[in-house]
């Protein structure tokens, strides 16, 4: 079980959280302007990397807020957690 540091509540066990899938996928701002391929990419296509993965989590049984997390998918080690809207830490 992971120990996840919620940016708002601190370190808590994994079963207080719900995963929300890959982070930093923006919904097209004008949905009617994009074609099927762009919609497919937004809805279904995922990076699924073996290595650093930016993902969303929600502290469901805590503050209830979404936040982002950078985790290594081979070791499951969490590199950083950060509020939604911030840049991915290793992208700077």
């Amino acid at each position: 079980m992971l120990l996840i540091r919620c940016p708002f509540c601190g370190a808590r066990p994994e079963n207080e959280f719900s995963p929300g899938g890959e982070a930093h996928i923006a919904r097209p701002p004008d949905p009617s302007a994009v074609d099927d391929a762009a919609w497919t990419d937004f809805l279904y296509m995922r990076t699924n990397p073996k290595g650093a993965h930016a993902e969303r989590w929600r502290h469901t049984h805590g503050c209830g807020r979404f936040f982002n997390c950078l985790r290594d998918t081979v070791s499951d080690k969490i590199v950083a957690t950060y509020p939604v809207g911030q840049q991915r830490p290793d992208a700077e």
Binding site: M1, L2, E14, N15, S18, P19, G21, E22, D36, A37, T40, D41, L43, Y44, M45, R46, T47, N48, P49, K50, H53, E55, R71, T73, V74, S75, D76
Partner: protein, 415 residues
């Protein structure tokens, strides 16, 4: 060497060592088809390419050892009672091949049609499973509805008491479903393919996919040197996203650890396979006597080939509730495999936007049962360069057209 009673007798009396079951050649510099991944699906693809499509200049590349991924880690359940017509056709195609597979390969794959019992614990389960039963019967696939008492008669150790937190309200039974020996499936296909001239190259990891100016594939770069091929078939299960990223492709896949465990061996106590999607557990007994128990996937994407202990604890709590007699059994081993899950819980089989590059992936938590059918239809797809009719609905394109094949009810946990 062909296996028969006569060869068994001769080997027993002469004391000769059994020959190697498949060749382990150095990779050649070029092949007609390169298959990435020597699991059950990849080896079956190679075998049917060689035996039915006359394509024998084939290499199967494996980064680890043969059958060491999900083929050797699954809980070996076989059934075909899926809801949608396209899935039922695909899994039934596989089930028909299972029935004659030991004879076809001249290798005992220990297919045992002992029945798969899928338990319903809520009113919603009951309706969903009855709908499955009706859909299957219309498609000519055996599946029947049992009351709790009939379920207990079919599987005597099952607890059908009304006092359970989630009592058994009934079950769907597919009598032709069952189990097979997973390693024997990989070994049998490997031996048969190797005999037909297919090169199986282990400890050979693909590190890049090479393409020409038009984007078509020309070969792969591996840890054992470059290999040229005009057709590349990727059958890499949980690592499919990693391999196809080498060709610049993104897929609708996420990889999760799925866990299983076995108990200490005991005398025969469980006559069939029992699955429960609602309380997250499935169980059967191997011929060695171990209870083989499947748990759920972890909640988050990972390539760790382990999993959270709370996931298996959850499955064992469910097993102890359903089978109170198993409470004092000790567990021997626990492991994880990486499964590639699609949004609609159906596999992706067929062509990709890259010319010459084919993919067979997305089997999620339940690919073992489809091994022969998947390999058979995928071999036809690769051999002819166009989708076999059975796998045509499973094309990657369905995520753009919206023609999804929703099997989430069939495959929520136990597939």
């Amino acid at each position: 060497m062909r296996f028969s009673f006569a060869t068994l007798l001769r080997q027993a009396f002469t004391g000769n060592a059994w020959p190697e079951q498949w060749r382990s050649p150095e990779p050649k510099s070029a092949y007609d088809v390169v298959i990435v991944g020597a699991g059950g699906h990849g080896l079956a693809t190679a075998y049917y390419l060689a035996s039915e499509h006359g394509v024998r200049n084939v290499a199967v590349l494996e980064k680890g050892w043969l059958g060491g991924g999900n083929t050797g880690r699954n809980t070996t359940i076989i059934r075909s009672n899926y809801l949608q017509d396209a899935s039922a056709a695909l899994y039934e195609h596989a089930l028909k091949l299972w029935e004659g597979l030991a004879q076809t390969l001249n290798y005992n794959v220990m297919y045992s049609p002992r029945g798969v019992l899928m338990l319903a614990h809520t009113e919603h389960d009951v309706r969903v499973f009855r709908r499955h039963v009706h859909a299957n019967r219309l498609a000519g696939i055996d599946n029947e509805w049992l009351t709790p008492e009939q379920s207990r008669q079919f599987c005597p150790p099952l607890n059908v008491s009304r006092d359970l937190r989630y009592p058994v309200l009934g079950a769907a039974l597919q009598r032709r479903g069952g189990v097979a020996r997973h390693d024997a499936v990989a070994w049998g296909y490997a031996r048969a393919a190797s005999t037909l001239g297919v090169d199986i190259v282990q400890n050979c990891e693909v590190t890049a996919i090479r393409r020409d100016a038009n984007g078509a594939v020309t070969g792969v770069q591996t840890t054992r040197g470059p290999i040229a091929a005009r057709k590349i078939a990727v059958v890499a299960a949980g690592h499919t996203s990693v391999v196809l990223a080498m060709a610049g492709l993104r897929l609708p896949l996420e990889s999760y650890p799925l866990q299983a465990l076995v108990s200490e061996p005991v005398k025969p106590v469980l006559p069939c396979v029992v699955m429960s999607n609602t309380i997250h557990a499935y169980i059967s007994q191997s011929d060695k006597g171990e209870l083989v128990i499947g748990a759920g996937t972890d909640a988050y994407l990972s390539y760790s080939q382990t999993g959270g202990l709370h996931i298996v604890t959850h499955a064992l709590e469910a097993i102890c509730e359903l089978f109170p007699t198993f409470r004092r059994l000790r567990m021997l081993r626990n492991w994880g495999g990486i499964v590639d899950v699609t949004p609609d819980r159906s596999p992706i089989i067929g062509l990709t936007p890259v010319p010459g590059l084919f993919v067979n992936c997305g089997w999620g938590t339940g690919g073992f049962k489809a091994t022969p059918g998947s390999g058979h239809a995928f071999a036809a797809t690769v051999g002819r360069g166009e989708p076999h009719p059975i796998v045509a609905p499973f094309a990657l394109d369905r995520f753009r057209t919206g023609r999804l094949i929703d099997e989430a009810a069939a495959a929520a946990v136990a597939h």
